[in-house]
Symmetry: C2
Subunit: 303 residues, 2 copies
């Protein structure tokens, strides 16, 4: 049976991914939206989140697609009003605020789900299963995309807390932290900050276990989201953002659901079992890179 | 009975604090040191840590006073060799590496203690007890010291991972996270980076619950390590880095032991009970500040 859900923050990612995923979900019906500007045809829209919480007692679950900085306040109000909460990635602007939300969700007996959509990419589960009993010996991540294409005019990505190139980079990190048999840690990082911006536009990161990561947000032409992980003579190659998995030269069959449908499927399972799923590992690597990283100033950026 | 302990990294903090604390401890005897340069009169010194681990099977506990960046590798080797490990603050250069050490210590059945010396300042326990059932309504931290006096020529504090002014600031955060009845999180931060350095030399940080923090590493004259926490009409004033506590205008009696003696006392208790104590909360706030903070370039700094 479909349950009503409210989507908050009707921007690009909501329209591109959340709305169609909910529309096609056997578990959810989009019963309301909350946004300053965006709406979804045929769905009641609110501009005041608190009014929605009061008026729509039938809606027990909200999905927050706002940018990370404002998201915390919405999550607090939703949890206080007894609603289950699903958070777009990254789950917040700070680690401490997500820990706080976790405590609040437990105290209020609601589900909190810190989603990592790239973990649901079709090749990830196969990579994880293959690597489970292996020891990683080396590897690299190559994550290059065009910020103008994926975040057109979204100034918040370059504002403090917007994470810059770690906004896509955290997708790679969410896959990495999922498929690795043992955790790694960052040993050094080079961060390129445009001279007129507050977040990095490119990064070179080194991890333990001979892993490296290149992030670039100025890639034109063919976009690239690749990851190679080696364990002795074995090699796992994840491409297309984790959606294709080639193990030792042979492509393996992937999961059935696309990323966002899989997230909403998982949210339905969490809500029905009264469980939460919170994993901060990808965000910890970003915070570590920002703490340990060597900052280099590069050319100014404008959209 | 006194147990042998090895001190690694004989620099300023070791000489100023660790050596006298161990000398006066009823629990510990300084049985060896490991350092590139420093030694302690009358104590066998090693320059090769692995050699010490092999030769000195009698020493079951090591205390690491190295700067945060090199500390992880020493901790890994000590844990692998079945030694209990005590870490100076901050416990590492990254959050992920300390999580990794925690896993390794548990797997090897040894004690890991991430010390926070300022939590042992004499007024902290009284402040914590008083605030336990209160709700914080506002407060501020004012932590201003002279880097040239406390870290003379220690270039590592301005290298990536050295944390800059958060090296003293994390002391304030270690107190804050200990005495608060409920956790807070950073909502904004302004970070001043000298144009020739990789870590901030000053910061203004805002937290939830109307808390603010000023960090300044260029304070000459009277040094200042103050914290005011208000809960409605109640006020707790911690001064001298937490060593004095005035509650509602009346100074309260403090703990007996000084900071470092109290850390070694706690380490003895942890080892004898086979327990670990790991708390990353102060370091999470630093990582959050570095992730969320707005960077401002200020005048170059030289010692």
């Amino acid at each position: 049976m479909e349950q009503p859900i409210c989507l908050v923050g009707i921007g690009k990612i909501a329209v591109d991914q959340h709305v169609p995923a909910i529309a096609n979900s056997p578990d959810w019906t989009l019963a309301a939206t909350v946004s300053r500007a965006g709406t979804v045809d045929g769905v009641p829209s609110y501009s005041d989140f608190d009014a929605m919480l009061v008026e729509r007692d039938d809606i027990r679950t909200v999905s927050l697609c706002l940018p990370p900085v404002p998201r915390y306040d919405y999550a607090v109000r939703a949890i206080a009003a007894g609603r289950n909460v699903m958070l777009e990635k990254p789950p917040g602007a700070t680690l401490a605020e997500v820990q706080d939300l976790t405590t609040r969700a437990a105290a209020n007996g609601v589900t909190l789900y810190t989603t990592w959509h790239s973990r649901m990419a079709k090749g990830v589960a196969a990579a994880k299963a293959f690597l489970a009993d292996k020891t990683i010996t080396s590897g690299y991540i190559d994550w290059r995309e065009d910020v103008r294409r994926w975040h057109p005019e979204q100034e918040w990505v370059f504002e403090p807390g917007g994470m810059g190139v770690f906004d896509p980079g955290i997708n790679a990190l969410s896959i990495l932290t999922d498929v690795l048999p043992r955790p790694v840690h960052i040993t050094s990082a080079l961060l390129n900050f445009p001279e007129n911006r507050f977040t990095p536009i490119a990064a070179e990161v080194a991890f333990s276990e001979n892993l490296t990561m290149t992030l670039d947000w100025l890639k034109d032409g063919q976009q690239m989201w690749e990851m190679i992980l080696r364990a002795g003579d074995d090699q796992v190659h994840l491409s297309e953002g984790g959606n294709r998995c080639v193990i030792n030269g042979t492509e393996v069959a992937g999961s059935v659901l696309d990323e966002y449908p899989a997230l909403y499927d998982q949210m339905a399972r969490l809500v029905s079992s009264g469980a939460s799923e919170v994993d901060l590992a990808p965000m910890i690597h970003v915070a570590d890179a920002m703490t340990l990283g060597k900052r280099v100033t590069v050319a100014p950026f404008s959209f």
